[in-house]
Structure formats: structure tokens, C-alpha cells
């Protein structure tokens, strides 16, 4: 019994939490920005997969790790533009378009990967992002190992969450995004172009999603395989609701989910084979559903979410 609680005292667990949370932070922020402007992007699962593939491929073919991340972001932006073009000016169903993009981007990733990398016994690998120990801080006991010994994209994700939280709340651009997501007609009456704001938000959000995917191949692991995103995109969509569409809470939600995940991994080792490991795999999802049940009822949905905006319509 003691062992089960001891897990929480190990700095290794907390370091893993930040690592596991990173792709979720990117993905949740991406989905959140797009939804704050009123557009649901269910293309996230596919966009993350594509980002993971293209980022890895860039590095595999000799590119720098940062270049890999940038190429991934760019590919996400392109898929975002596709989603935005269909759902914003044309006003097509956001659900259907998003799911279509997920199917398209996932299959395309696998297709390109198979074309470029022949089937082999063990998948080819790259040298991923290395842990950066922040001077002085990483020497702190416990916290040093838990928080200040991460790869660069993890620091970037956390910084982004804070920047986006500030930008949404405190800048004209953030206010424009929010008013477009609440009532695009109000935005238009204030001289803001809702179509442009929405397209921008979807494109930027999708770039973040792809960066989340790329983290998997460029930092968490060192190779690509087609099923590696494993529903993380859908978790991000749920985390947005959990976070009540607020970036700082999205950060908290991603960390909480990652905690469940990291904990169950270690629990498997402690408890051993007595309990089938699949039961442990379910823990984070069950906890998420419970958390959603509690949080989502208080969530404040952007009022114009999923409502297409057409000019001159009553």
C-alpha cells in the first residue's frame, strides 16, 4: 500500500508529468484558440499525426530539430487553412469537416511515411531534443529534477500557455478573438472582420496542434509510427471543455491528465501482473470523464461556437 503512495514522492514522476503534458498543452491551446473564435477543429487528431510525421521526416533527412518543429507548425497551418476555408467563408459543418481532415491527414501521414521509409524490422530513429538543465534552478532538490530538467519544447509549451492567457485577456487581438466567438455580428458592428479573425485563429491553432504532434517524435520518442497520437487529440478537445475555454486552466487540465497517465504507468510496475495492465490504461480517461462531469457544468461556452457567420444575414 505504501508503495502506491510513494510514487508521488518521486521526482521522476513529476518530470514525466511535464513531458506527457507537453503535447496536450500544445494541442489544447490550439483547439482552445480556434474555439474561442467560434470554430471547432476536430481535425486535431490528424493534424497532430501529420505534425509528428513531417517533423520527424525533416530531421531524419538531415534537418535541424527546430526546423522539424517549424515544418510541423507550417503543415498544421496548411491543414488549418483548409479547415478554415471550408468552415468559415463557406460555412460548412465544422464537425464533418474536422473529422474529414483527421481522416485525410492521418492517412496522408502514413502514406508519405511509407513512401519515404521502406518497411523494416525496427523503425528508423533520430536524435531527439535533449533535456536542458536550467542553471542553478535544476540544482534545487526535487524541483530541480521534476521541473527544471526538461526539453526545450516543454518550456516553450508552458510559456505559450501563459502568453496566450495574457493575450486573450489583455490585448486587442485577444479581445477581437473573444468577441468574434461570442457574437460575430457584434464584432462586425465594431469594425472587426469576423471572417479574417476566425481564419487566423484556426490557422494559428492548427499550427500549435501540429507542434504538439511533433513533440512526440522529436522529444518524447525518436521514431514515428502511424498510431502514435493515440487519441491525444480527442483528449485535447475534452480538455478545452474541462478548462472552460481558459488557457491557464487548460495548462492545469493537461498537467492533471498527464499526472493520471504517469501515475498509472508506474502503478503498473508497483502492482505487477496481479491486475491486467489494460485496467491501468483506462485510469486517465476515467478520471478525465469524472473531472469533466464536475467542471463542464460550470463551463462557459463561447456563444457563437459552431455557428457560421454570414454577412448581411438576419
Amino acid at each position: 500500500m505504501m508503495d502506491v503512495l510513494d510514487i508521488f514522492a518521486s521526482a521522476g514522476l513529476w518530470a514525466a508529468v511535464l513531458r506527457i503534458a507537453t503535447p496536450l498543452i500544445f494541442g489544447t491551446l490550439g483547439a482552445l484558440i480556434s474555439e474561442r473564435a467560434g470554430v471547432l477543429n476536430l481535425g486535431i487528431e490528424g493534424i497532430m499525426t501529420f505534425g509528428a510525421m513531417i517533423g520527424w521526416m525533416t530531421v531524419y533527412h538531415g534537418g535541424d530539430l527546430w526546423l522539424g518543429l517549424a515544418v510541423a507548425a507550417l503543415s498544421g497551418a496548411v491543414f488549418g487553412l483548409l479547415h478554415a476555408a471550408l468552415t468559415v467563408p463557406l460555412g460548412l459543418s465544422q464537425h464533418v469537416t474536422g473529422l474529414g481532415i483527421t481522416l485525410f491527414a492521418s492517412s496522408l501521414s502514413y502514406f508519405i511515411f511509407r513512401l519515404a521509409v521502406p518497411v523494416s524490422g525496427s523503425p528508423p530513429t533520430i536524435v531527439p531534443f535533449q533535456v536542458i538543465k536550467i542553471p542553478v534552478l535544476s540544482d534545487l532538490p526535487f524541483l530541480g529534477e521534476a521541473v527544471f530538467s526538461q526539453t526545450a519544447p516543454t518550456y516553450l509549451a508552458i510559456a505559450l500557455a501563459l502568453v496566450i492567457a495574457y493575450a486573450l485577456a489583455r490585448t486587442p487581438l485577444g479581445l477581437a478573438v473573444r468577441i468574434v466567438g461570442e457574437n460575430p455580428h457584434a464584432a462586425e458592428a465594431q469594425g472587426i472582420n469576423p471572417i479574417r479573425v476566425r481564419i487566423g485563429a484556426v490557422v494559428f491553432g492548427s499550427a500549435l496542434m501540429a507542434m504538439g504532434g511533433a513533440f512526440l517524435t522529436l522529444a518524447a520518442f525518436n521514431s514515428f509510427f502511424p498510431t502514435m497520437v493515440q487519441g491525444r487529440g480527442w483528449v485535447c478537445i475534452a480538455l478545452v471543455v474541462f478548462a472552460s475555454w481558459r488557457p491557464e486552466r487548460a495548462l492545469g487540465g493537461a498537467l492533471l491528465f498527464a499526472l493520471f497517465d504517469a501515475y498509472q504507468l508506474r502503478l503498473q510496475h508497483v502492482v505487477g501482473k496481479a491486475i491486467p495492465y489494460q485496467l491501468f490504461l483506462m485510469i486517465p480517461y476515467i478520471m478525465s470523464i469524472l473531472a469533466l462531469l464536475v467542471m463542464a457544468r460550470r463551463a462557459r461556452v463561447p456563444q457563437a461556437l459552431m455557428q457560421p457567420f454570414r454577412r448581411g444575414e438576419r
Binding site: L175, N183, Q303, R311
Partner: protein
């Protein structure tokens, strides 16, 4: 002709498909002037203002503000030229604060801060200067309708609007709020702003405007100085023919149809007593927000008395439900037709049968009989002169007056034994008011017991046989209409029943 006009619309024409909503309209506004744009629903007033503001682009014609032509279809350009617009349906984001609604779009999108402190100061100063009190940090969704309108006006003032356009600003306001608004507008004109407001309420136009432009069928049909015209002349110009509101004839009432004895509903209604007889209209007058909403819910079967008893046709109403009340022959005209009366996206015929779709003639074996529903809708459309769409168009495309005629029609086509009419003519134009009044009187003549809830003195005086006032959830004792005059009703509405007696 003295100073040059601040605003000039020149030869504006706008078509929607085959319909010409604006037909070669020319209009001028001078500095410090209050111009009323008068016209029935569908006359093209909103369309014209939307073109002026750049929401729509005109098919031909020009907009000239302060001597410069505005590019078509660009709200931003209109805002920058000093034009502000208060929309008929407010353009506000409910989840944002007042301040956020006001400052959105006012700074370059690349700026790093909102400049909230300075903005709050400017907003507070404007509130004080024009008497538009509202808290900058309140969530807009928590505000009353009147307060939201203040926010709309403040949005324009904040952007230094010199011309303000208000589209039917009083349609959603109570009498007091409307008077307050016109007082504010007059003050703004004295500060040098030039104002166009849209209305179809004659008395408001005469009381508040300097000049009146009358629009009918997309054309300017007349222009008058407010001091040189009369209500009757304007009504005739607006409608295109003489309109007279129908008159009530006296008749002997029948048996008691609906009766409340010392009914409480929560804390909203306290010990109310009333009775309505067949072939009689009982008017309940009062300023909105005094319990009318709960009263309507009570007599629609949506709310149960927490004390006292409610009787239908002499027997206590057991376990009231909306469906049971409909089945018992109660027809309802809800106060908010968009929220409670119709489903905007659904077709006219679906809305026509919505309350009765379970009846065998409209459905069998769980399937809707569409042909019967459509036929019923056609009958209502025909008999009640509903215009602006067929039985298959979505009901949201109908104007307010026509939607109201449909709601009235679907109830009256059934000859209800009791009719609950809550603010039945709110927001309607002169022609539609006359039509609705005519139908309510016809129902009464046919023996329907009518419970009329209204805040419009003229309406009560025209339709009711007896009047009770509703004040803070209480009802005054009834007085016969012959003894009611505006002064006495005013006293009753203020809660001074003894003085009024």
C-alpha cells in the same frame, strides 16, 4: 437651407431578389437635428440604415458623410467617418463586460495592451455627461434591456460618433425607459450630435423628433416638420390609407371561465384575485416586470399556485400542465414571440400546429400529417392575412407583425374558450395593431373570455371591459372601463388603489 448637411443619402436603391426594399431614396440630416424615420414593418427602414452603415451594399446610390463619400460595404469606414449605429437587434456579446464590448476593435490589433484604465475613464465620463448609467465591469448578459441599449449608445459615443442611428430603439423598452431614452437623445442633440431614429410609434415621433421622413414600400412618401403635422396625417401617410383602430361594443358577459382566488406563486405573485367571463375582456395593466411574466405562466399551466386556487369553468384546475390547458381551450399569445411563441428555424406550418400536433387531425401513429398541417397553416394565413412568406418558409423570415398574426391565428382558428394575450401588439406597426385588435374583439364577440395583459394605456382603453393594475406581484381590485381614464389608471399602476377609487 443653412448649414450643409452632415449626412446625405442619395438615390439609394437596394433589391433582395425580386423585392425592392429601397427605391431611389434621398435623405438629408443636419447638425444637431433629431430626424425620425417613420414607416411600417417592411417599409425598408432597417435596410436603408444598414446600407448607410455599410452592413449591406446598395445596388445604386451614394452615402455622403461630412462632405465625403463613404465606400460601400465597409462598417469600419462608417465608424471612422463618425457614424454610430444602435441595431434593432442589439449587437452585443453577452459574456463580455460592458467595457470589453465598448473597446473591441478600437485599438490596432497588434497593440500589446487594451488601455483599459484610460478607456474606463472615458466611458465613465461619457456615462455621466449623457446620463447613461451603466457599470463598465458588468457582464452584458446580466444587464436589463434598457441598460444594454445604453451600452449600444455608449459604444458609438466612445468612438466619437457625430451621427447616431437608432433602429427601433423603443421596441424593446418599457414606457418609462422609452421616455428616458428620448430625453437622453434630446440632450445629445443639444451637445451637437445629429440623430436618426427609426420608429413606427406615432406619438413618440411627434414628441421627440424635429423632422419626420415617412417611408412606405421602400420609397420616401413624405417629409414633415414634427410641429406641423398630426398623428392622423402621419398614420395615413405611413399606411397609405386611413386606419382606424376598431371599437369595442358593449355586450353582456356570460359565465365565469377563469378565476383566481387569493393565488400566490412563489414570491412573484401575492394573493391575486381576478375573474374573466365568457365574452368579456379583463385588462391587466402595469409596467413590465411587476409579475406579468409569472401571471402568464400561471394561466398557461406552466406554473402552479403555491397558495390559493385557480378555477377553470367553475372547477379547480387540477395539476395544471401546458398541454392540459391547451386541451381545455386556452389559447395563448406569449409576450416574447421569438422566445416563447415560435421556433424561428421551423416552417410556418410547423409553427402553426406546434401546440396541437398531438391531436389526431395533425398526427397519427406518431407520424405528423403534413398535408393537414399545411392546409391548416394556409387557412390561418388566408384568414388572418399573414404576409411575407408561404406555409413552407421559415417563420423567422416573417416580420414581427406577421408572426404575431400567425400566432394569433393559430389560436383563434380554434375558437378558444379563453384567450391569454400578453403584450399582443408590442413592437407592431399601426396596421398590424389594428388587425390584432380587430381579431381580439372578434373573439370576444364570439364568446371567448379574454385576459389582456398590457402596459399600453391606449390598448387597454380600447379593448378591455374591466381593468386591474398589477404592481409588484399584486393585483388591484377591478374597475369598469367607463370609470378608467389615463390619470386614474396611472395612479393604479403606481400602486395607489385607494386614491384611485
Amino acid at each position: 437651407m443653412s448649414a450643409p448637411p452632415v449626412l446625405r443619402l442619395e438615390g439609394i436603391t437596394k433589391r433582395f431578389g425580386a423585392l425592392t426594399a429601397n427605391d431611389d431614396i434621398t435623405l438629408e440630416l443636419r447638425q444637431g437635428e433629431l430626424l425620425a424615420l417613420l414607416g411600417e414593418n417592411g417599409a425598408g427602414k432597417t435596410t436603408l440604415m444598414n446600407i448607410l452603415f455599410g452592413h449591406y451594399t446598395a445596388d445604386s446610390g451614394r452615402v455622403i458623410a461630412f462632405g465625403r463619400e463613404l465606400p460601400p460595404g465597409k462598417p469600419r469606414a462608417a465608424i471612422e467617418a463618425g457614424i454610430g449605429m444602435v441595431h434593432q437587434h442589439f449587437a452585443l456579446a453577452a459574456n463580455l463586460t460592458v467595457l470589453e464590448n465598448v473597446i473591441a476593435g478600437t485599438r490596432p490589433l497588434g497593440a500589446l495592451g487594451l488601455g483599459s484604465a484610460a478607456a474606463r475613464e472615458k466611458l465613465t465620463a461619457l456615462s455621466a455627461k449623457f446620463g447613461l448609467a451603466v457599470h463598465p465591469d458588468a457582464r452584458v448578459g446580466d444587464l436589463s434591456v434598457g441598460e444594454r441599449q445604453r451600452v449600444e449608445i455608449l459604444k458609438s459615443l466612445y468612438r466619437d460618433a457625430k451621427v447616431l442611428i437608432l433602429d427601433e430603439p423603443t421596441a424593446v423598452l418599457t414606457h418609462q425607459e422609452a421616455e428616458q431614452l428620448y430625453h437622453t437623445l434630446r440632450g445629445m442633440a443639444e451637445h451637437g450630435l445629429s440623430i436618426i431614429f427609426i420608429s413606427h410609434k406615432l406619438h413618440e415621433v411627434l414628441a421627440a423628433a424635429d423632422r419626420v421622413t415617412v417611408l412606405r414600400g421602400g420609397k420616401v412618401v413624405a417629409e414633415r416638420r414634427a410641429s406641423e403635422t398630426t398623428k392622423d396625417e402621419l398614420a395615413e401617410l405611413m399606411v397609405g390609407r386611413r386606419v382606424a383602430r376598431p371599437r369595442r361594443e358593449s355586450q353582456a358577459p356570460g359565465a365565469i371561465a377563469l378565476k383566481a382566488a387569493r393565488v400566490d406563486v412563489g414570491t412573484a405573485l401575492k394573493a391575486i384575485d381576478f375573474e374573466v367571463r365568457a365574452g368579456e375582456t379583463l385588462g391587466i395593466i402595469g409596467v413590465s416586470g411587476n409579475g406579468q411574466h409569472t401571471l402568464v405562466r400561471l394561466v398557461s399551466g406552466l406554473e402552479r399556485p403555491s397558495a390559493g386556487s385557480l378555477e377553470l369553468y367553475g372547477a379547480p384546475a387540477q395539476r395544471p400542465t401546458p398541454r392540459g390547458f391547451v386541451a381545455a381551450g386556452i389559447g395563448r399569445i406569449p409576450e416574447d414571440r421569438h422566445a416563447d411563441g415560435a421556433v424561428g428555424e421551423m416552417a410556418v406550418w410547423e409553427n402553426a400546429v406546434l401546440e396541437r400536433v398531438r391531436e389526431p387531425r395533425f398526427s397519427a401513429a406518431g407520424l405528423v400529417r403534413r398535408a393537414a398541417g399545411r392546409a391548416f397553416a394556409r387557412e390561418v394565413i388566408e384568414r388572418f392575412d399573414v404576409r411575407g412568406g408561404s406555409e413552407d418558409s421559415p417563420i423567422r423570415l416573417l416580420s414581427g407583425g406577421n408572426m404575431q398574426k400567425l400566432i394569433l391565428g393559430r389560436n383563434l382558428a380554434e375558437s378558444p374558450r379563453i384567450l391569454i394575450a400578453a403584450q399582443p401588439t408590442r413592437g407592431l406597426d399601426e396596421g398590424a395593431v389594428a388587425a390584432v385588435h380587430g381579431e381580439i374583439l372578434a373573439a370576444r364577440r364570439a364568446g371567448t373570455a379574454v385576459l389582456l395583459i398590457s402596459e399600453d394605456l391606449d390598448e387597454i382603453l380600447a379593448l378591455a371591459d374591466r381593468v386591474q393594475a398589477i404592481v409588484k406581484g399584486r393585483l388591484s381590485p377591478p374597475i369598469p372601463i367607463e370609470k378608467a381614464d389615463p390619470r386614474r389608471l396611472g395612479l393604479m399602476m403606481a400602486g395607489s388603489w385607494e386614491d384611485a377609487a
